[in-house]
């Protein structure tokens, strides 16, 4: 499986994720959140930023179900889902991830027919600190 190859802008996201915290970069001057992280604010051009903790609640914005040909580790789990989740606090912040049955479960652990756009989801974390998503119990 591919691990995130981080850069200076993205590293704090992954450091917080390893502690089980979902945080997104926000401008420390004008307050606008932004994703993916970047050196300065496209709204006010400030270089001051902070990492704002979010609730981890969101909704599925879209999803795909990849089939081979894929890299071997992923082909072995295919077909699996990849979702894009809009965060409850900031709908323009959308995170790519996997909808799984429980934290650490296989990528294909939720059958595709159970996935729908608009479904409420909540973040969980693998042991390695990778955010994943589970369906919220209604």
């Amino acid at each position: 499986m591919l691990s995130p190859v981080t850069d200076a802008d993205g590293a704090p996201f992954w450091e917080y994720a390893r502690r089980g915290e979902l945080r997104v970069q926000a401008c420390a001057s004008c307050g606008e959140p932004r994703f993916p992280p970047r050196p300065c604010c496209p709204h006010c051009q400030s270089f001051a930023s902070e990492w704002r903790r979010v609730s981890g609640h969101g909704r599925i914005w879209s999803y795909v179900v990849p089939h081979p040909p894929l890299l071997p580790d992923y082909a072995e789990q295919a077909p699996y889902n990849v979702v894009v989740v809009e965060l409850a606090e900031a709908p323009r912040i959308r995170l790519v991830g996997n909808l799984v049955a429980e934290a650490g479960a296989r990528l294909g652990s939720v059958p595709p027919e159970r996935i729908r756009i608009g479904a409420r989801v909540q973040v969980v974390f693998t042991e390695g600190g990778l955010p994943q998503w589970v369906l919220e119990r209604s």
């Binding site: 995130p4 190859v5 981080t6 802008d9 992923y74 990849v82 323009r92 912040i93 991830g97």
Partner: protein, 385 residues
């Protein structure tokens, strides 16, 4: 009217050339590039020694030095490369047109040579991926361009009611034109709705036939001033308008992080393209629209103004994209069914239409829109005879 030196009809494409297209060709990419470039110059009736400008893609592996010394170009005074894969196709011609219109050069050659049929799939190399935005997508198994575009396609279908039948209409129109084109990979391979609907998934909601071909091949074209073009052996095809497009807050194929991910680079390129043209979308006789994936065509139809927002799917109904329809597209078969060479065959097919020599000729075609890849920083050309 804008001030300064304009591009409008200032230059023309006067030569086109191509190699055979196949899943595997014996020549290497450099040799294929040389063959296509020399074929284009021969078509134009211009000697290699007269070439003083080049343009290609950043993904092109044959560089200017290799090409120039092999085919015997003269002294080059302008050479540029455009990024973002298939988004750069039309920009290669646009850069030559700008260079020639402003006196930086007199004879320009644009080309693309690629062994994507027998060579590796770029996405399978995990070491060359830049950390941004790959760190946000690839660990989750969003690995290939098809996965990234399928994500936007699913959302597009959800928001606007586009269906798999609409995507099939795109695949079918391209295949039907390929069935008329002996040079097309899919010349002898008809497509049916049954085949489409029962084909294997690649990344749901996109199936096998929503994906372009994987092709070995090379193409080139020659650009000169309008004045010079009048003395060339072929009917000049004028570059009426040209544009690139990188919208504000755009993120490439993973365009998930702005207010409206389904309004992509086509909209930006289109605004500039039409602003500098004497034509409107209603004046376009035939279009060559970048089709790495079927879903890019409905999005591009919206972006370039052939229909309203969300209407791209419905536009494909009732044979609209076929010969005789509202807007015949990809009349050589496109990337889906002729050859996938980063969209360069769409440029040469546009030229063939305006010369009246296409294998699926639109009667009397005098204007042709050619687009580069939607979903990445893009470019477009409006050609006229």
């Amino acid at each position: 009217m804008t001030s300064g030196i304009g591009l409008k009809d200032a230059t023309a494409i006067v030569g086109i050339g191509q190699t055979a297209f196949a899943k595997q060709l014996p020549d290497d990419e450099k040799t294929l590039a040389c063959r296509a470039v020399l074929a284009a110059l021969d078509d134009a009736g211009i000697a290699p020694g007269e070439v003083d400008a080049l343009a290609s893609y950043t993904m092109e592996d044959t560089d200017e030095v290799e090409l120039a010394k092999a085919v015997g170009f003269g002294d080059l005074t302008h050479f540029s490369k455009v990024g973002y894969g298939g988004g750069g196709s039309c920009a290669t011609v646009a850069h030559l047109a700008a260079a020639i219109a402003t006196g930086q050069a007199t004879v320009g050659v644009a080309w693309r040579s690629r062994k994507r049929g027998s060579g590796p799939r770029p996405w399978s190399n995990t070491t060359v991926q830049l950390p941004t935005p790959a760190q946000w997508t690839r660990p989750y198994g969003l690995l290939r361009p098809v996965d990234e575009i399928a994500m936007l396609t699913r959302r597009y279908m959800h928001e606007f009611g586009a269906t798999r039948d609409h995507l099939f209409n795109v695949a079918l129109a391209c295949r039907n034109r390929a069935n008329q084109n002996p040079a097309a990979i899919m010349y002898e391979r008809p497509l049916t709705r049954e085949m489409y609907m029962t084909s294997r998934w690649i990344s749901e909601p996109l199936c096998l036939f929503d994906n372009c071909l994987e092709t070995d091949g090379a193409l080139a074209c020659v650009v000169v001033s309008a004045e010079r073009a009048r003395d060339c052996r072929r009917t000049p095809v004028y570059v009426h308008s040209a544009a690139q497009g990188l919208p504000a807050q755009h993120h490439g194929m993973v365009n998930y992080w702005n207010d409206d991910p389904l309004t992509g680079p086509a909209w930006t390129a289109a605004r500039h393209l039409w602003k500098h043209a004497d034509l409107t979308p209603q004046d376009v006789d035939v279009a060559q629209i970048y089709d790495a994936f079927t879903a890019l065509i409905p999005l591009s139809l919206e972006g370039y103004g052939f229909c309203g927002r969300g209407e791209g799917g419905a536009f494909t109904e009732q044979g609209a994209l076929e010969i005789g329809g509202r807007l015949p597209v990809n009349t050589g078969g496109g990337g889906l069914s002729e050859a996938y060479v980063h969209g360069f065959n769409l440029i040469t097919e546009g030229v063939k239409q305006l010369r009246g020599t296409s294998t699926a000729q639109v009667p009397g075609a005098a204007t042709c829109l050619v687009t580069a890849g939607e979903g990445v920083p893009t470019s477009a050309l409006l050609l006229r005879s």
